[in-house]
């Protein structure tokens, strides 16, 4: 990379001027956003909430299916028991 410009005798900033531009608080705020633990980030709760809902939904579906299977099994057993008596 070659320099494009050469500037001779540019007016430099005074130390005061540079010090007035110091803003450690804004740096800290940006750092907080970057290194905030996941548990304190709003999207974490979104993800957790979504996963909880999904898990609840699947558990419910699974439960319903299992219940249905149980009922069918029970009914089948009942009908099996009833049939020999009728014979």
């Amino acid at each position: 990379m070659k320099p494009k410009k050469i500037i001779l005798n540019r007016t430099e900033f005074s130390s005061n001027c540079i010090q007035n531009r110091q803003d450690f608080n804004s740096i800290l705020k940006q750092i907080e956003l970057i290194i905030k633990p996941p548990i304190k980030r709003p999207y974490f709760y979104g993800a957790v909430g979504f996963s909880s809902l999904a898990i609840a939904f699947f558990t419910l579906c699974l439960n319903t299916q299992l219940n249905e299977k149980k009922i069918i099994k029970k009914n089948a057993l009942k009908s099996e028991k009833i049939q020999p008596e009728a014979e």
């Binding site: 070659k2 320099p3 410009k5 050469i6 500037i7 001779l8 005798n9 130390s15 800290l28």
Partner: protein, 185 residues
């Protein structure tokens, strides 16, 4: 400012260790090095707002990577300068900033003396034109040594080379400048 006593370095290390646990403790280091880092960046570009932005980015990067910092007996500033260099060159690559060489007239006179040339106005212009023909590494060395007046020890620490190597490389850069200048003249 750059070279410090062992006590100062140890005090600085205690600030760093505290800042590794709590980012708010980085305050004294920010206050101490903000101006130096800003001047290093602004020396190589000509957009003051962007220079302040890049300076902030340097400190953000330093604070977020502070857990990786290892004390090697050199001032913390050398680590900050390396981050500044990387951020600066990233901005050149992204074309956000334009590589600029800033110097004073007396710097030219000093270089003319180093390359054993008489100081004439048209020769100064030739020297300026020759400076931009140097490759980036050589230009950096000339910049740090002659325009920023850094010691070889400091240059070595910033570039992660020994003091002696910094001396040799700067001498070679000056020789290249001399060669290019003579060819141009």
């Amino acid at each position: 400012m750059f070279h410090q006593t062992i006590q100062r370095l140890e005090e600085e290390l205690s600030w760093i260790l505290r800042a590794q646990k709590n980012p708010e403790s980085f305050g004294p280091l920010y206050k101490k090095y903000h101006e130096q880092i800003f001047r290093y960046i602004y020396q190589r570009m000509n957009d003051e707002e962007l220079a302040f932005d890049i300076t902030s980015q340097v400190f953000i990067k330093a604070m977020t990577n502070l857990h990786k910092y290892e004390y090697r007996g050199v001032p913390f500033a050398s680590w900050l300068y390396r981050i500044a260099k990387s951020e600066l060159y990233q901005s050149f690559r992204n074309k956000k900033a334009e590589r600029t060489v800033n110097l004073e007239s007396y710097h030219l006179t000093e270089i003319m003396e180093e390359i054993e040339e008489e100081e004439l106005e048209h020769q100064k212009n030739n020297l300026l034109l020759t400076l931009v023909r140097l490759n980036e590494k050589d230009l950096q060395l000339i910049e740090m040594r002659f325009f920023e007046k850094r010691s070889f020890k400091e240059i070595g620490e910033i570039l992660e080379i020994t003091e002696n190597n910094a001396k040799v490389k700067t001498f070679r850069a000056l020789e290249k400048l001399k060669h290019l200048y003579k060819n141009k003249s």
